[in-house]
Symmetry: C2
Subunit: 428 residues, 2 copies
């Protein structure tokens, strides 16, 4: 049988992993794919870097975009970045009628609808299992497995760095900056961690899952994003007292007023699946009407999980599994209709740092009552006499703007120090 010819752009940890796995399990992979894979061209910045994978005799180029002119049947794009070479190569590859397999969440969250349309116009396949939740086959599941009843909500832990940091904060009692520094030292966080800890990476992935689940154009415009920098060990400790853990979640939820998409730290009840996801693991819950929920957990990053997802896509391409990239034809992908801000209702964890003076609690309670926010449970804890006191409460469900308004009024009080902390409660 004719081998399927691959050109690989980007030979970092994932690209080298793909090359290695294709070589090490050549026979098994060919049997599953129905054909062999042959690497006919590669591109990377540094030709001389040690990668531990044999690429002797494989044509090398410094210009990734030129791979679109190779005789490859499939381009594997592992360069990264939403624009630049990755975008240029993706367009050129599809226009040259080459299948495209990519791990690039930023590219697809930004240009996914356009590239999906381009793939359809050219009669080729665009696949991106590795772009969200690494080796977990959630892209395939949302595209192909829940069609009978439809997805109502997708929520997940999609960034291993953040989950590692939050897990370590809980385990060590250290605050965000200390744990981040340690994570960077150990290689669990990038030198520039902003895309991870700021929530942007989770937003990219949520945009893809949301598109697959709800048939909307992938995009970041309607995703509210908050990272984890403001989470303190104190919050994590109080969460534990209330029976919760704090997790950075991406949540996309179909509501009567539109598709709500949010990335933010949330309080998740201990014992629910997402609350128990530890360390750098990723996990996704899909609510599928009467058929669900379904829960998936696994490694979301790193060489093997990501290369595993890339190879699954390559086998799909080899098998001729040629459905549309986001599950429905690109032309049918709808624009996101976001619900109005005051439609977002949730229960909230609130923490105030206050001067230990008579009337403080009364003032906070009154402001919340003025905004029609009612309190479900509360902890007040003194420190040493004269020192600031933490007042922590969990509210009943209320519209988010009501709670925000109350917090603004409360923050203005001279008895309240700093900004109150507000973390939504979320299903796990």
């Amino acid at each position: 049988m004719t081998p399927l010819k691959l050109a690989i752009a980007g030979l970092g940890t994932v690209g080298a992993g793909v090359v290695l796995a294709l070589a090490e399990r050549r026979a098994e992979i060919s049997e599953r794919a129905g054909c062999a894979f042959e690497i006919v061209a590669v591109s990377a910045r540094d030709k001389n870097k040690k990668r531990g994978c044999a690429l002797e005799g494989v044509p090398w180029t410094d210009d990734p975009v030129s791979l679109a002119r190779s005789d490859a049947d499939v381009i594997v794009e592992l360069i990264g970045g939403e624009d630049g070479a990755a975008y240029a190569l993706a367009r050129a590859a599809l226009n040259a009628k080459k299948h495209l397999v990519t791990a690039n969440k930023a590219l697809l969250a930004t240009h996914g609808a356009e590239l999906a349309a381009l793939a359809e116009e050219n009669g080729v396949t665009l696949r991106f299992e590795a772009a969200a939740a690494g080796g977990i086959p959630i892209v395939k599941a949302l595209r192909e497995s829940f069609i009978g009843y439809g997805v109502h909500t997708v929520r997940g832990i999609l960034n291993g760095t953040c989950n590692y940091i939050l897990t370590q904060m809980e385990a060590s009692g250290l605050d965000f900056t200390d744990v981040l520094a340690e994570a960077q030292r150990l290689g669990f966080a990038e030198a520039d961690p902003e895309l991870d800890v700021g929530g942007g990476d989770t937003a990219h992935k949520l945009a893809l899952l949301s598109s697959l689940a709800f048939g909307v154009k992938p995009g970041l415009a309607h995703i509210g994003v908050q990272g984890i920098r403001h989470i303190t060990f104190e919050d994590i400790g109080f969460a534990r007292e209330f029976g919760y853990r704090i997790k950075l979640l991406g949540v996309a939820r179909q509501t009567p007023l539109g598709l709500s998409q949010r990335v933010q730290p949330a309080m998740v009840k201990r014992g629910t699946p997402l609350a128990e996801v530890e360390g750098a693991f990723n996990a996704v819950v899909a609510d599928v009407g009467a058929a669900g929920p379904f829960f998936f957990e696994g490694r979301g990053a790193g060489r093997a999980p990501t290369a595993s997802a890339v190879i699954a896509d390559l086998v799909d391409v080899a098998r001729g599994t040629a459905g549309p990239a986001f599950g429905i034809p690109a032309a049918a992908l709808k624009a996101v209709k976001a619900p109005p801000p005051d439609a977002h209702r949730s229960a909230f964890y609130l923490r105030f740092t206050v001067l230990d003076e008579p009337g403080v609690l009364a003032e906070i309670a009154r402001r919340l009552a003025d905004s029609h926010v009612s309190i479900e449970s509360m902890i007040q804890r003194g420190r040493a006499p004269g020192e600031p006191v933490s007042i922590v409460m969990i509210t009943h469900e209320a519209p988010e703007p009501h709670v925000s308004d109350a917090l603004k009024a409360i923050a203005a009080s001279d008895k309240v120090l700093g900004s109150p902390t507000m973390i939504p409660m979320e299903e796990g």
Copy 2:
């Protein structure tokens, strides 16, 4: 676009669910599938039964096998049973070059390799997502998603009835027979529960997962099967004290000496994913070398989860996803090579009921030592004076036949009452 024509054999809870979901989400499903579905014939025992689904004008037959002569493109087999009408219809359908979608684990565990070969000979697709773990897309994942690194172990909770019973035993403190009776009253267990509680249903499903994961012919011959009838509340209570829960697991593990396949109750450490699966849920862990483990959890039975899986298969057929049924060509499926019995090593939970007399513990300890089985931890608990005493221990890892031999010798002692209980420890 031409609709894909379906004939449905069996209109029980799942069949009616498929008909209903196809009607209720007609537009969404057609968009995902790339074509409409049209039901052109149905077959069931009782034409007049109320099913809550509209089938007016659809040709009806009492003879399911005759559906193979209809003008359907796809036969949906929901009759059940490993032989009889289901097997006859499956063969006739494939020979008539019709795609076959089935939820029938017994059929495929027995005749899977033959039917897969028949599908290939006739150039049609055989799909069975609903046959294992209901709505969880584990069949697809094992067939398509873990190819790059390969599966080392699959282990799962594959029977919701057993997991419900074990969960309820723990929650209620009642013994097996009482909880089973209650489960039957509530409709969570069949009037004849043997296939579930005896482990046979789990074995059927394990045979399928094992075939998909390891490229072997599905079959029951090499699966050791033990059910849950012998599990007492006392065992569940001791498990809790040691930090474990008892779960009926199907485990298929590639070992250097062969493919080990077992269905049996196992002690699973609290806090691991499988230990925390509650009630009628199903769950599967796939160890995928450096890329894994991956964990999947969801509803394993009932109308919506099963119909959801059937519809996913129908969409695959519509999209032309035509890979082999078990992931590799039927001719390449290997016979199972089982490891020799003494290759099976495990740590074990052991419970002895003994007369409270001097020397009993010494005798048990000596017999275990004679068989080279060493003890990791132990609980001895007296009841009222003169009454029998439970001695419970967890061993270090040892070959299973060594432990069995020791137990036989111990059971022969006149100070030991009844048969000792032996439950392996398993990863969760």
